[in-house]
């Protein structure tokens, strides 16, 4: 058969290519700070901290959490399940506070979200909001806190070996 054949491919001019790459990298990195974190009132977290009976952690290879400005609660033991597989949490900051409040017990906060039905198992488990059912009655899976490459805590459902499976260190400061 015959075929319309377009002109041959060309390379993107280098001087613009480098600028585009640099700009895209900045856009991606900047998106992290534009995500709206799920704010949890400090008082609620303090209450939840004492009642996280379903939350477990285990020290294997451990590393301290160095960035406590926020943390992530995952709904599946995977880093590649997409943006609906986790939610970002941060402590509410008092008006006039010079710096963000620190998330000092991510497992407890995530357990609260599971218990309240905000998180559900699966790769899109952080997509929706609380489902029907008595408030605070949803099941909390075993949870384990790991440390992401940037030093942020990430809490996954799963056994203590989950961090090792994901090639992440356990979070030293969140082990109970």
């Amino acid at each position: 058969m015959t075929q319309f054949t377009p002109p041959p491919a060309r390379m993107l001019p280098e001087y613009r290519r480098a600028a585009m790459r640099h700009q895209l990298m900045a856009v991606v990195a900047g998106s992290r700070h534009r995500r709206r974190p799920l704010l949890i009132a400090a008082s609620a977290v303090l209450v939840a901290a004492g009642t996280s009976a379903g939350a477990y952690a285990y020290v294997q290879h451990s590393q301290p959490v160095t960035d406590k400005n926020d943390a992530r609660c995952y709904t599946v033991a995977s880093l590649s399940a997409g943006p609906e597989s986790y939610t970002t949490i941060a402590q509410a900051t008092m008006a006039g506070s010079p710096r963000p409040a620190q998330v000092n017990n991510a497992i407890s906060v995530c357990a609260t979200l599971w218990r309240q039905g905000i998180l559900h198992p699966g790769p899109q488990g952080a997509r929706g909001r609380a489902t029907a059912g008595p408030a605070g009655s949803s099941q909390v899976p075993p949870l384990v806190a790991c440390v992401l490459p940037g030093g942020t805590a990430a809490v996954f459902p799963g056994p203590p070996s989950t961090c090792a499976t994901l090639s992440l260190p356990n979070a030293a400061s969140y082990t109970n």
Binding site: T2, F4, T5, L12, V27, S80, E84, G150
Partner: protein, 202 residues
């Protein structure tokens, strides 16, 4: 130290989308920028427009990162589908990202070699003639022609990119080719030594 070259598109995409690693997205750009650039040129007939649109395609891909569809481990088919949408709505797409585009170096600031400039002009002229001939096709037919015959995607990759069944890709491409065969196109536009698509060779 991360061996970026060893990571698949899917792994890079996951690191960019879930951990906001700019370098991961930069690696994807390095891998696919030329293919996207050439695709944009072939849909618009302008190298200059294709430069800006290439940037827009990646910005749009990032904006729509939750909708990504990988074909196997490659993100290129989906990027080309995004490029199709961007080139169809070029003005609106450029308007959306105009502030970022304005920060890129402008083309006229770099002198071009005369011979290369002539080749660019010739290519644009040829491409616009082809695009003129393709106006008899529907947009879906033009799209599968550009994806399969020009960009070299398989039917399956094009199907994933467009979110349609493989059979639909196959039938659209068959109709497109049939229209072109029936069309009495200028001889200069028709190549008789056919470069078959990957599917035809299989």
């Amino acid at each position: 130290m991360t061996d970026w070259a060893a990571l698949s598109d899917g792994q890079l995409w996951a690191r960019a989308a879930s951990q906001f690693e700019g370098e991961a997205f930069g690696q994807l750009f390095e891998r696919h920028a030329n293919a996207v650039y050439t695709y944009c040129f072939r849909r618009t007939g302008s190298w200059l427009a294709a430069e800006d649109l290439t940037s827009v395609v990646f910005l749009e891909a990032w904006r729509k990162r939750r909708d990504v569809r990988l074909a196997g481990e490659s993100v290129l088919p989906w990027l080309l589908a995004v490029a199709g949408n961007v080139t169809r709505n070029a003005e609106r797409s450029i308007r959306r990202h105009r502030r970022l585009l304005a920060r890129l170096p402008r083309p006229e600031t770099v002198p071009d070699v005369a011979d290369d400039a002539a080749k660019r002009v010739d290519a644009e002229h040829a491409m616009r003639l082809i695009l003129g001939e393709l106006r008899l096709l529907t947009e879906p037919e033009r799209e599968v022609l550009a994806l399969c015959d020009w960009a070299g995607l398989t039917y399956a990759e094009a199907a994933v990119a467009l979110g349609v069944p493989v059979g639909t890709v196959r039938s659209r491409l068959a109709r497109a080719r049939q229209h072109l065969r029936e069309r009495a196109a200028p001889a200069a536009l028709i190549v008789t030594s056919v470069t078959a698509s990957k599917e035809d060779q299989a």
